[in-house]
């Protein structure tokens, strides 16, 4: 079964090609089914591969499938080849799995859109890219997928490109990501120079023999790439805007899969990170923690249903980097998986709400929706409990893992993580209350909104609900893959061990877990007091609503001094450089015009010129060259 790993990306590719050729003819909804089928098939193959791997001995669980020589030049020899090992297959599993669910969901969500088939075209292309990313045997193939998902993200964010904001958001996402890509590329260059190869096997093997500074450089430049893709400080700004895309996109790309690519990359090169100077992991951990806290504070004050989730995603990704920085790769992957479950669930749930609310996204215009969309509400609540870290939901276990690791690294980081956990519980509770409880505020909405005719929020069709239910189930039991009770129950850690190294000891940290659970409950309680029982005024300062003005500052800089600098270059080009060129032309003509006045037409002047020439020549010959 391992030899057919290539089928995993090939199936979405086939879907892409088929839809490209026949998409219009297939139309709505057949194109969607085709895409889903392809993604589902990929999932099936992945499962097969997974079990195949599982059946092997631990040390044989790494398998390289070489397709063809891609970029062979001199000592650089890059193959297009896939690496099937526990890490990549794990990623594949939830990428294809969740991907299939979201494909399915999107058939319902995108129904009636004039560009229905194109949406699935992009979606399949995304699945292809994402699979290349995780399956890549070397950094270049990963980079191929890396940029591919970036491109798809661009295409999908600006899917409704008639909206100016969507177009801008797509561009912003791409360009910001490119900053990270630059880091990734430089990291590759360092790796190539130090090891002569780009394959992970080679690089990781050489990690301990290369200079520490090189390892640090590779790690940090990779981390820069990860920051871009995984929306960490300071490059997170594109993700909130990316919510302009259709909600399935947000769920798939901007919650479950693509944004976790950075974490995946860091885990992939974990030996290099291990070989790097100690400040490198610390930096990663600090950035992760800071991002987690920072995004959580912003999420507290958002009113757009998807923006809350977006900031939440950033915050959760911060957790994962905190884990990476603390050396707890398994914890990072664990959280990535559980996060994929519940965040995809939450996004799809919000999508169902938006769908049912006729594309209304402002939570202040919602409320009491649990009555009209019960299934959505129920699944959303499951997601909420999971993300808030309420045991025994999935989020609790993975988050707890991370906090434990952070505590190991530094109590300060742990404290930050804990505060973030509190805030997470708080803002998620706030969201649930605002959307599903309280008064129904959508009736007043429709006057101002000028909505078309009667406005009745409604439950979504079954095709959208099935994924919700499945994901809710996963969000409940997802934690089961890595329970910290004994080393037997830490299945994921064992599974990943050949890739990310030995797992951390977790004994004697029950107290910390209890603290985390209590903190989550405190957050929930506080939110209930404020938003459900109105016992206190909501704390939604403007500075948080505006995301600490970070985005605004960046934008003001880009539109202001940045743009002026660019304009200055253009001005310089047109005026100074081109001016110099034209100036030479003008100079020649000007000089000629001046000399021209000497050509008076008067024969005596001409004779005088000859006379002067004579005297000069005589002077040269007689005085200079003569026997003076």
């Amino acid at each position: 079964m391992l030899d057919v790993v290539w089928l995993i990306p090939a199936l979405p590719l086939a879907g892409f090609v088929l839809i490209l050729l026949f998409g219009r003819r297939l139309g709505d909804p057949k194109a969607g089914y085709l895409a889903t089928l392809m993604c589902g098939a990929a999932f099936a193959v992945t499962v097969g591969v997974f079990f195949d791997l599982l059946s092997k001995r631990t040390e044989q669980r790494s398998h390289i499938i070489r397709m063809f020589s891609w970029v062979p030049v001199g000592s650089l020899n890059v193959d297009l080849s896939f690496l099937a090992d526990p890490l990549s297959i794990t990623m594949c599993l939830f990428v294809t799995g969740i991907g299939t669910l979201i494909h399915l969901y999107a058939i319902g969500y995108m129904h009636g859109d004039p560009r229905f088939s194109k949406f699935f075209l992009y979606l399949n292309l995304f699945a292809l890219s994402m699979l290349l990313l995780v399956l890549g045997e070397n950094m270049l193939v990963t980079f191929l997928g890396w940029e591919g998902v970036g491109t798809c993200s661009y295409l999908l964010i600006s899917f409704w490109h008639e909206r100016e904001s969507a177009a801008t958001a797509g561009k912003k996402a791409f360009v910001t990501n490119r900053v990270g890509d630059w880091g990734f590329m430089v990291a590759m260059f360092f790796a190539f120079q130090a090891t002569g190869t780009l394959s992970y096997g080679g690089i990781n093997t050489a990690a301990h023999t290369m200079a520490q500074s090189t390892a640090t450089a590779i790690a940090l430049f990779c981390f820069l790439g990860a920051c871009g893709k995984s929306a960490q400080l300071p490059l997170y700004i594109w993700l909130p805007d990316a919510m302009e895309g259709p909600t399935p996109v947000s769920a798939l790309i901007h919650a479950a899969t693509m944004v976790t690519a950075g974490v995946y990359l860091m885990c992939r090169i974990s030996p290099v990170l291990g070989a790097a100077s100690s400040y490198a992991p610390t930096l990663i951990a600090v950035v992760g923690a800071a991002t987690a806290l920072f995004a959580a504070t912003i999420a507290v004050a958002q009113n757009d249903i998807k923006r809350v989730l977006a900031y939440s995603t950033i915050s959760q990704l911060g957790y994962m980097f905190l884990a990476v920085g603390s050396g707890a790769y398994t914890a990072a992957i664990f959280h990535m998986i559980t996060h994929a479950f519940f965040k995809a669930l939450l996004f799809l749930g919000s999508g169902a709400v938006i769908h049912g609310m006729n594309h209304e996204q402002d939570m202040r215009r919602m409320g009491a929706l649990r009555k009209v969309m019960p299934i959505t509400a129920a699944t959303f609540i499951v997601g909420w409990l999971a993300i808030a870290g309420v045991p025994p939901f999935a989020g609790f276990w993975s988050k707890d893992d991370i906090l434990l690791a952070a505590y190991d690294k530094s109590p300060v980081l742990w404290a930050v993580g804990l505060v973030t956990a509190l805030l997470t519980a708080y803002y998620m509770t706030r969201q649930v209350i605002m959307v599903f409880y309280g008064k129904a505020r959508w009736d007043d909405a429709h006057d101002e909104h000028g909505a078309h005719g009667d406005f009745h929020p409604h439950e979504s069709p079954a095709i959208m609900l099935v994924p919700l239910v499945v994901l809710a189930g996963l969000a409940i039991i997802g934690g089961g893959i890595n329970l910290p009770f004994s080393s037997r129950t830490e299945k994921l850690a064992h599974w990943l061990e050949p890739v990310v190294g030995g797992h951390e000891s977790l004994t004697g940290k029950v107290s910390l877990a209890v603290i985390a659970a209590v903190v989550a409950l405190i957050g929930i309680g506080a939110a209930i007091m404020i938003y459900a029982q109105h016992k206190a005024k909501p704390i939604e300062p403007r500075v948080l609503q505006n995301g600490w003005y970070y985005d605004a500052t960046v934008r003001r800089f880009m539109g202001g001094p940045g743009r002026e600098a660019f304009d200055a270059v253009a001005w310089y080009d047109a005026t100074v450089i081109d001016g110099a060129v034209n100036g030479v032309g003008r100079l020649v003509r000007g000089t000629a015009q001046k000399i021209r006045t000497v050509q008076t037409g008067n024969v005596r002047n001409y004779a005088a010129a000859i006379g002067v020439g004579v005297v000069l020549l005589l002077a040269w010959f007689v005085v200079v060259r003569g026997n003076l």
Binding site: V73, S75, L76, Y154, M185, F192, Q193, I203, T205, I577
Partner: protein
Amino acid sequence: MTSFPILTLLVLVPAAGALAVAAFSTRRPEWTKLLALLSSVFTGALSVWLVVAFDKSNADFQFVSKHLWIKPWGISWHLGVDGISLFLLLLTGVLFPIVIAGTDPHQNHRRYLAWMLLLEAGLMGSFVSLDLFLFFVFFEIVLVPMYFLIAGWGYEGRVYAATKFFLFTMTGSAFMLVGVIATAFLAKGRGPLTFDLIELAKADFATSTGRWLFFAFAVAFAVKVPIFPLHTWLPDAHTQAPTGGSVILAGVMLKLGTYGLLRFGVFLFPEAARWSRSLWLTLAVIGIIYGAIAATMQKDLKRLVAYSSVAHLGFIVLGIFAMTSQSMTGGVMQNINHGVSTGALFLLVGMIYDRRHTRQIADLKGLQKVAPIFAGVFMVVMLSSIGVPGLNGFIGEYLVLIGSFLTARWWTVVAATGVILAALYLLWAYQRVFHGEPDDANRTFPELKLREAAVLLPLVGVIVFTGVYPKPMLDRIEPSVKRLIEHVTEKTNYVEPQPVAVAP
């Protein structure tokens, strides 16, 4: 190999076509066009055949033909092709039929087509010449058809642009001509005078002499590339040229500069090229960043693409002077990639102009809604230009960067930021042109026509194929690049740095 003079034919067929077209009666313009198309297609077929017949295990010049031309000066009609020039020939052979089939001059087809074919002959000749004199002849002669194409069929500022182009390039060539002659005489010693590239490459010049000579050559090529700050002719020429002219100018003609730097600069004067590399690397990096920034602020779509060429060509120069097999192979490859994608971009912009009679970005809006297929093709080409992996633009750029990193680390790190800026200016332009709700003027924008699609399809095909499977190209380019580096090694104490090999 073969005594069939295919390279001579590559030059003579379009030249004969030009004469035939010029002599053809004007009464039936469609026949004229057919004749022109046939001769360019035939040339293209020859170039394809050349690539097929090319022996990729042979790093030396192939299909060599050598005939004495001007005996008293020791000048021969000496043609040959190696991996460095092979794909440039193919590019020329392919782009011309596309341009001839795909673009229509607004007046006097016959003359336009004749000039086009003459241009093709000149370009082909430049790429196959192995004699300095012969190369110079072709290098210079291409100016004439290009001048007339721009001045005769261009837009409002065409005469200014064409004149600027002509004089600018000629100034560069002025230095090169002196350099060519001086090279031949200084290398002459006791032997007979010769302008043969291969003979001259054996000569050893005194250090300072070699540097001066290199400078003389390099100025000409730097103008052609163009390297900052000698680039200002380019935006004007590209913008004012008719679509076909822009395609050829950007697609093929700029490559004369980079090709010349490799073939004549580095090959003849390795020491000087090594000695001055910091200068070139710096200028290349400046070009990459500067071109991108200038492109960002352009209001004219064609001008934007033109400035993007400055940036892209900067990568090639970086690759050439970083002098590793990866970077040089990447540079050679980028020649082709840039030719294909920028050529396609110019075609697309030309199609926009044909429909809307404006190139101003501000006049265009929301085209994706009314012409999704057009927008889709534009998107693919644009992504290739941005350097998205999986498309051709990436391979060349990446190879340049990774190779350059070995010898010019910090230049490369800065140059790599060019990929960010490339995304910025192209996507911004795309957004302004294709995104949004189309206004009244753009609501009736016609979708891609069949003929246009037929013209673009091969280019898009090349873009995707090369991006996914560049090996056939790399296999043919690399041996010649390696040989060039070996030549440099022989002449100087340069040793190509290799990455630290990983223990098996």
